[in-house]
Symmetry: C3
Subunit: 224 residues, 3 copies
């Protein structure tokens, strides 16, 4: 495959993922009745927060989001769009209509997939090619860190800790890529691993897969 073409495709998927992540943050901010500043902050944090935590762990100063402001700016634009929709048609935001769209789920899954493999790539490029544990960890952090930050800023328990197959899809993709990048072409590895994440996510969403809960939600201690 032509490298320039692969680079362009990856950039496009990154941009799609950035926007999808920003939308999910901005919608939660609007639902919490935040002001325009809060909507922008939650949108941008969700979109670039995972990469920011990754870069701090890897010692990349300043984090990459400050060298390519394009991602943060796109996220801010997408968040502003959510703000405008919320002002004119609040019921679209309140009723979770955006998050329930299958298109949104698809784009969000693409973001999760591409961010997970890019996280692994960043660890390799930062000189940690021999530390698969670190690569997988920062891969998952790149994928789900923004969502964790979003929920903590919104004053909630991070949904990724209790909700369906999301972080585990990221984990499978990051682990797959960390294991196979040495043996096959980098671009093929990235696309295969990211596609694996997307497929797991979409299957999980379609068939309501959930990881087993430690204690079922409706379990109550016996009254003796």
């Amino acid at each position: 495959m032509n490298t320039n073409f692969a680079d362009t495709v990856i950039l496009c998927i990154e941009i799609i993922g950035t926007i999808a992540f920003a939308l999910s943050g901005a919608v939660i901010a609007a639902q919490r009745r935040m002001d325009i500043f809060g909507v922008l902050v939650l949108g941008v944090c969700t979109a670039v927060g995972g990469g920011c935590i990754r870069d701090i762990i890897l010692g990349i100063n300043p984090p990459n989001m400050f060298r390519n402001p394009i991602y943060a700016l796109l996220a801010a634009l997408a968040s502003f769009l959510v703000f405008c929709v919320a002002r004119s048609a609040p019921e679209i935001i309140i009723t979770n209509r955006i998050q329930n769209m299958s298109l949104f789920n698809f784009l969000d899954a693409m973001g999760l997939g591409i961010f997970s493999v890019i996280g692994v790539n960043t660890a390799i490029d930062a000189g940690f090619a021999d530390n698969a544990f670190l690569q997988i960890f920062v891969g998952v952090i790149t994928g789900v860190g923004g969502g964790i930050l979003r929920d903590m800023l919104a004053g909630e328990m991070p949904s990724v800790l209790k909700r369906d197959v999301y972080a585990s899809a990221s984990f499978v993709g990051a682990a797959l890529y960390a294991c196979c990048y040495q043996f096959i072409n980098q671009w093929v590895g990235m696309f295969l691993s990211a596609a694996t994440v997307v497929i797991i996510r979409l299957l999980a969403a379609k068939f309501y897969w959930n990881l087993p809960s430690a204690i079922p939600k409706d379990w109550m201690p016996r009254q003796d």
Copy 2:
């Protein structure tokens, strides 16, 4: 203007801001019925947390608060004072009497202003003179990061995401300074930009300015 004199004035404003920020953190800790340790932690985190996040983003290790412990010590002293007041006269703390004082608002605004421009300065000194996006971002983080940390430690949604014109005042000051520091004398730029923040904050407090909310607080979905 004499440089030494300007340095002294900035140091004084920094100390005033540190104490005002520590007071706001310690009061919230006391209201949450924390113990003496919690009051000190919230006071110190509010006062120096913004600068600490800034230094981690910029790769300044260890963060500046550890090289000049004077700020953390002053913040701890101010927090201890709040603790003593809470022990002897809890109603002063519970009824928000401190935060409602116009003197407190004035000192807090001075802190917000000076921290925002110092954040921009720190980014420039750390070698990022050509990255206005980074400068403005860490300027705002220096100004409001401590308050965000305070609210997250207190288990609340950060008030800066939904409350009146606070972060946006910091943004205007940081952006003004980041834009003009190349063209005018550094001290003049710092004082002008910090003063802009103070004026916006005081006007916002006096006239109850608020940024537009994404969805009004009393908006309810129609029952059809």
Copy 3:
């Protein structure tokens, strides 16, 4: 004392502390009805989160947990054990039976003690032998940072800010070691300081010591 023997003892205490911390995180995750991923994340974050924050402050990239994955793996194993217990006998988890065991309290106190002095040691080794403020600060962060992260991820106010003598025991041990490491043998200093933390913790647990609260829990403003 033989250095190798001392090293081995410290490693054993570290492993015990890691497991005890992981248990406390995993139990809280199970109580919040998180899934297997959430249980593992909270367990691992509680066990290695304090050291991770310390390394980010000290500029150690990547944090030590990624160079010796053994700690994170042990924490994950202990968390998985909690998950299995929660699946088969939820009442053990829900009723706080693990945290109420004196054995658990003892192991947790050992972890708090050893992590606090190891934090001081890490700061010294990172080149900050002349900054006692930084040493004590990162000592306490290493001891209690994981628990703070655990509570923030669980959507709660960090218990360390309001609960009995925990962070203050860590503070006494870190300060003792930071003051005396120059004058006495390193291993003697570490064991004495860590033992001080354990003794303070156990006495505090036995006699229900509490730091004074800023405002008593049952204090209500007078209705006039």
